[in-house]
Chain length 300, copies 2
Amino acid sequence: MLHLIGLGLSHETDITVRGLETIKKCKRVYLEAYTSILMAAEKETLEKFYGKELILADREMVEQASDDILAGAQEDDIAFLVVGDPFGATTHTDLVIRARELGIKYQTIHNASVMNAVGACGLQLYNFGQTVSLVFFTDSWKPDSFYDKIHENRKIGLHTLVLLDIKVKEQSIENIMRGRNVFEPPRYMSIEQAASQLLEIEESRDEKVYCSDTPAIAVSRLGSPRQCIKAGSLGELAEYESGEPLHSLIVLGNNVHDLEIDFLVEFADDPEAFKALITKDAENFKKEVKIMSYSDDDDE
Amino acid sequence: MLHLIGLGLSHETDITVRGLETIKKCKRVYLEAYTSILMAAEKETLEKFYGKELILADREMVEQASDDILAGAQEDDIAFLVVGDPFGATTHTDLVIRARELGIKYQTIHNASVMNAVGACGLQLYNFGQTVSLVFFTDSWKPDSFYDKIHENRKIGLHTLVLLDIKVKEQSIENIMRGRNVFEPPRYMSIEQAASQLLEIEESRDEKVYCSDTPAIAVSRLGSPRQCIKAGSLGELAEYESGEPLHSLIVLGNNVHDLEIDFLVEFADDPEAFKALITKDAENFKKEVKIMSYSDDDDE
């Protein structure tokens, strides 16, 4: 049987009791090590805590050698550990589909992930629209599909959770050319870079989806002992020092409820100024949508 | 200190190791008992597992007597246990705001909730729009704000998670009039009733947001040993026998990805027929949106 087990957000003890019991009886235990990191625990800490050796599974192994992971799982118990919840990333769905094809039973032991734990900032989960991803821009590659999705969310008043890029096992072009298995240090996008990239795309697309005064929330090290939540404008967050990873960014919708505001202001340097940003954003954005909806009609 | 601890979805062992360690050191332990239920464990099972007596906290206590819950939490450790994750429901945000006012520190120990574990059905979480709630209709009260929200989601191709009503500690009008503290048995909305109520509102509003052929997913007893996922049309699910609670319903968006379909068809009685529903829904809905967007323009 394949056991997909979520590890939660940060500590080695964030695993569930049932997850831990299951690991202990498994023949092989894989740790997925490319979509996220467990913030307060290293591989060795986990191995000691579980009393089991862990096999690191990188993207290549999961996507191209999934049959090795699943070998013998018709009879043996195999665990596949994922930071957060196992169904946060597409590639794990692939693994389950492959298991089914091989006649392998599976079960999921769920855990918290940023997708639900982000409620800790005080925004209500049912006021979020679709979640978007933001990748590291290069000089020639600045994918901006997130911009249209934030627009869709904001048109109907909803908040947007922006998941920030993680790069592990990157190779330099020189090392790829020379066939050297040398990897760059892992990179995790900071709040500063995320907010700057968002504003860069607003500047080039200029569809007034948001601006440097748009209220946003920086969620850093969610669920860890050093969790930090900061409320400010996108312009302020572009100059924020967010510190150690992991980070997520939330762009507020233009219809923030009073109870959400009451909770959020605790995370603002200047609560009154932050409330004013929310009011201004709601007014600004309504105006802009009106203008845009006329111009949309003209295009038809 | 106030410790908000998520219990996860089903088993007493779905609590995290850190959550369990924290409960054991707490002076008082409250169990929130009105927004959800832990499916595979009763209060007595939990008390035995934790080695602690639990105080049941109903809505009245949390909303009107929160200071009793928080009494002494400036010095003592008090635990507040919530099925799923603590930030799934509005009233818990209130409790934290009150704790802050009283100068009480708090921490959250997160866990899985339906909001992220629903990914187990194979739909990608980033393809979901806003989540909606569906309450038990009465002859005179059929609130339908969910209808507009499903519409907003489907206009941009997104899935909608529909959370189904739970009624605990209900009193009959006769018992209220006579001042008798007698409560009705708890009620949990079934998939059949949810799908029927959705179709009832489509019939009365007639804005072609969905129809009896719209593909949907019934998620029953998520995370429990008797978890069951069923893919079918809303019309089929209105006649489904969903069995023991808890249930959630997903109305598919009209832009289902191939990988999502590959995973979903396993849950359909007739995979080819279900695929055909998805194709038909995408075509139907695009047509209807076109018609509606013209009529919207006319209204301006």
